[in-house]
Amino acid sequence: MSGIDYSEKIPNNVNLAGDRTLQRALEHWQPNFLQWWAEMGPDGSQDFDVYLRTAVSVEPSGWANFDHVKMPDYRWGVFMTPADGERRIRFGEHLGEPAWQDVPGEHRANLRRIIVTQGDTEPASVEQQRHLGLTCPSQYDLRNLFQVNVEEGRHLWAMVYLLHRHFGRDGREEAEALLGRRSGDTDNPRILGAFNERTPDWLAFFMFTYFTDRDGKFQLCALAESGFDPLARTTRFMLTEEAHHMFVGESGVSRIVQRTCAVMNELKTDDVAALRASGVIDLPTIQRYLNFHFAVTIDLFGADQSSNAATFYSAGLKGRFEEGKRDDDHRLQGATYLVQDIADGRVIEREAPMLNALNEVLRDDYIRDSIGGVNRWNRVIEKAGLPFRLAAPHKAFNRKIGTFAKARVSPDGRVIDEAEWARHEREWLPTSEDRAFVASLMGRVVAPGKFANWIAPPAIGINRQPVDFEYVRFN
């Protein structure tokens, strides 16, 4: 049964009504969630009618239903790709065995940790983005922000459902704690570093949704392989929503680049001061934001050598990206992988057991995927006939986690000393002046079809609506 029942208090396609205890537990959690949303959700969005996508079934035809929805009345629910009953584990020691419908006792702690870590990122990003609505560059972008936010909220619901349904009292406590932590709070921060950074402006938001939500895609893809079938089916459906978030990021940055290039051609200059004076974001600043978000995000994949990653894989808890498309033995005992390290003052490659290097495997898959988008931004610059090119920095650049955390490495991959780092840091990472300048551009534009000066309109509207469609009714 894949249809979603919206008449229930908690819309779901998991037959919540068939488990009264669980239903009551979630109904008890629901007001706390709504309270959290009121406190930490989008600032000042009360009573807006927003043209949002809501799932009405998890079939391709049903999960993209568009309509104006009153902001606090969005129906968050619990949706899963239907079980096929035949699914088998595709990797690790349990390769070929039927997927588990319940949590195996010996993996309980690890699975709970995986789910809590994933779940924690969802409300965190809503908290990080909560003030952006006040400085939106257009109605179209405001709508996209809200879509991202409500779906992050729904992803939290997805993880909380798993905690309540499969982890008893521990799970309920963890679900409460997910609403207790706060992004950037020194006493009770979110679990992962990138989710405690600020998202102060829309360039940062687009970089975040491009890079950091793409980390979400890779983590979800790895979890969609899980031997724990409810987790696999939940994340499978979350992936369909995650795609929109990456779209917001990729097209957002692309439109900023497009606008900057247009002004560069108009003024026939690449002079940063002249471009800033005409109110667009210069390409070097965009590159520095890119460097920052890239490095912060690849830290999210964890240490490059990790026995936990090996355990998660061998136990069948978390697979690799596109496990089914890889033609090795899917057990990886004895397999090796080339990892990077620092020796004799430079970055070198060496072989390591693949099982211990699985974080690195996922990180490298991620890097390949994210560079594709950077190249598409470059095509916008190329099309404008300009010589500048954006580039993803070396994976050792500005890392805070793993082998490279203690080294200073330039964006082009040279190991450098502290003095050289200090000389160039302002060229490589956003400075406080950069951030102040970008912040100075952030004025609110909400007339239908109007866009802030620093960003180009999108090529097409949402769901075939025109670009000047009334995506948000402010009432």
């Binding site: 391709p60 309509d67 369909t240 995650e242 990729e250 769901n463």
Partner: protein, 408 residues
């Protein structure tokens, strides 16, 4: 008929715009038959596999998925070509007769406008109509959001006001346009039912303003023109629809029977029965704009057997006389003599003649085929009585987009 072909040897090829696509893999994931694949550069659709089921369209977060090119089947873009693109190729000319308008629709449209000598020009200030966005092969699916009987309890006919909601599917319409309904199932020979056309009865911004919906005026057909009992397939299907039921809709159609939009333009509307649908749409459009005070007058001649058989009778009576000049003709009211619209036209001959002379007045006639002759004879008579030459006037009216006749 093979699904993607819209004409012999011509393919409506499904393509993905590489400039907009973000390579998120959603389309590949949602394709039920693995017609979508990718390399490190592009996501592409295999024309040999794709059956245009459209399962990938709504899930795509970018809209990049919704691109189509008409190509000769033999020279469809190959996967290798698609992998190599940075931008989509432009639509190239494909040699073919206009295959887009379905045959059924073309046949009905030709019949409907035969009385005026074929389709005429639209008013110069008409809005640009969208046509044929949804075909019988790929109909839009609307949901019924209302189904209300318009005619009184004692009336001999069951005329209904049916509101269809298109949700998130694009279905832009103008007053005077028609949409096609495809009744489900097959006929006695096992063939799919023909498309039936209905004029929309709501203005362009929807029966419920700013929602994506249209209203239809549908009479349940229980007898044919000669009065023999016959059960109309489409009308009975529509009249019996429950709220929330899905309906396959094609169209919109019609590029001629459109209303003028310029300030000061007037409408002369002559209709019977459900021929009132486009008149109701135009009147409602103007009513919603009363406050703009754009000038121009509306004059309506409306015929039915009796008041209780007249759709929209009640709401019409509430409209102010300075906004619309309404003339009802009833042919079967006990104790009264039979009056038809042509009788009323003659009675108001001076006013009608003035409107025919007025460059800013546009004439619309819609109803049963049988009214056509009586109405044109009345117009001819009015002309001869008021120093006008109908035979000279008619071509000028038609060429100027001022005379629109649709009968069935």
């Amino acid at each position: 008929m093979s699904v993607p072909a819209t004409a012999e040897g011509v393919l409506r090829q499904h393509l993905i715009d590489p400039e907009i696509c973000i390579r998120c893999n959603t389309c590949e994931e949602s394709c039920p038959i693995d017609a979508i694949t990718h390399d490190a550069r592009n996501y592409v659709v295999d024309p040999a596999i794709c059956r245009t089921c459209n399962a990938c369209i709504a899930p795509c977060p970018t809209g990049a998925i919704d691109n189509w090119r008409r190509v000769a089947r033999a020279s469809a873009y190959t996967l290798a070509q698609q992998f190599d693109w940075d931008v989509l190729p432009a639509q190239e000319a494909v040699a073919e007769a206009d295959p887009e308008i379905p045959q059924d629709v073309a046949r009905i449209a030709a019949l409907a406008s035969a009385g005026q000598g074929g389709a005429s020009a639209p008013p110069w200030s008409a809005a640009h109509p969208y046509v044929n966005l949804h075909t019988p092969q790929h109909p839009a699916v609307a949901t019924v959001s209302g189904n209300l009987r318009l005619t009184g309890e004692g009336a001999s006919s069951d005329i209904r006001h049916i509101v269809l909601d298109f949700g998130s599917t694009a279905f832009p319409v103008l007053e005077g346009q028609t949409i096609g309904i495809v009744p489900p199932g097959t006929d006695a020979e096992g063939r799919p039912h023909h498309v039936r056309l209905y004029s929309i009865a709501s203005p362009r911004d929807g029966e419920r303003p700013r929602y994506n919906n249209v209203a239809l005026t549908v009479k349940r057909v229980t007898e044919d023109h000669e009065g023999r009992p016959v059960r109309g397939i489409a009308s009975n299907y529509l009249c019996d629809l429950e709220k929330s039921a899905p309906v396959n809709v094609v169209g919109p159609f019609g590029t001629s029977f459109l209303m003028p939009n310029h300030p000061g333009s007037s409408l002369l509307m002559i209709c019977t029965g459900t021929g009132s649908a486009p008149m109701r749409a135009m009147t409602e459009r103007r009513r919603r704009r009363i406050a703009l005070d754009e000038g121009g007058k509306l004059m309506l001649f409306f015929g039915a057997r009796a008041p209780e058989e007249l759709p929209y009778f009640g709401p019409l009576l509430k409209l102010p006389a300075e906004f619309i000049d309404i003339n009802f003709a009833f042919s079967r009211v006990a104790g009264q003599r039979k009056r038809y619209v042509q009788d009323l036209l003659r009675e108001r001959g001076a006013d009608v003649a003035a409107r025919l002379r007025d460059e800013n007045c546009f004439v619309y006639i819609c109803g049963l085929k049988s009214m056509e002759e009586g109405v044109t004879r009345a117009l001819r008579d009015i002309c001869s009585g008021h120093d006008l030459d109908w035979d000279g006037l008619l071509p000028a009216l038609r060429d100027g987009g001022r005379y629109h006749l649709e009968t069935y």
